[in-house]
Point group: C2
């Protein structure tokens, strides 16, 4: 049975390749996608394939920064490049019977740290 | 030797308790904290303890939503409540010799999804 780490690695490789057939083979028929910060939910493999294939048609590219995985869950940190900008995506996965059953992702934005902690940090 | 999962669990428990002595015992002397979206870096245990103890003095509380861990890395998803608002924090950890050597966190903000994918989602 495919491990959560291998599933997530294959998930991002299939997304980068726009290979939605391979992508779909990693998903449970009941997979649920959620993006808490934009309050989006997509339920079921067919809808989630459509969401990916039709919702993001640009010339984006991704690189996996880190995958952490145990027996039933995984988390990934990717760098997405789109329209000349690169930004991170953080995703939490749940796996059952060798298939991805839930995907929850976060797309944080750039912000300025408060002046109150300026003396405690250095800027990268 | 303390596992990455146990370290991260203890890290958030110590933060919630403002037990900076216990918090410090989980960290390598060379720990590096980074917040990529605000371009903040804090280097070394002493500086990172000061950053936490002095940089965030409000009446915040956190609850762990999920911890994913393997042998040398971990990721956590927490819910932070501060000033009546609750929002997620996503953190990636690296561990060596039973101590946390790097902490990278992300604090995503609320955003509206583009109208172009409105027909592909439901709102949570």
């Amino acid at each position: 049975m495919t491990s959560p780490r291998a599933l997530v690695s294959a998930y991002w490789a299939a997304a980068e390749a726009r290979n939605w057939e391979a992508f779909g083979r990693l998903l449970s028929v009941d997979v649920v996608y959620q993006a808490p910060m934009s309050r989006e939910r997509v339920s079921g493999r067919a809808a989630y394939l459509r969401f990916n294939a039709e919702g993001f048609t640009g010339d984006w590219h991704l690189a996996v920064e880190r995958i952490v995985a145990d027996e039933v869950t995984a988390a990934s940190w990717i760098q997405m490049t789109d329209a000349g900008e690169t930004y991170p995506g953080l995703t939490f996965f749940e796996v059952a019977d060798g298939l991805i059953v839930s995907v929850t992702d976060f797309w944080p934005q750039v912000y300025e740290p408060p002046a109150s902690r300026e003396h405690l940090i250095e800027r990268i």
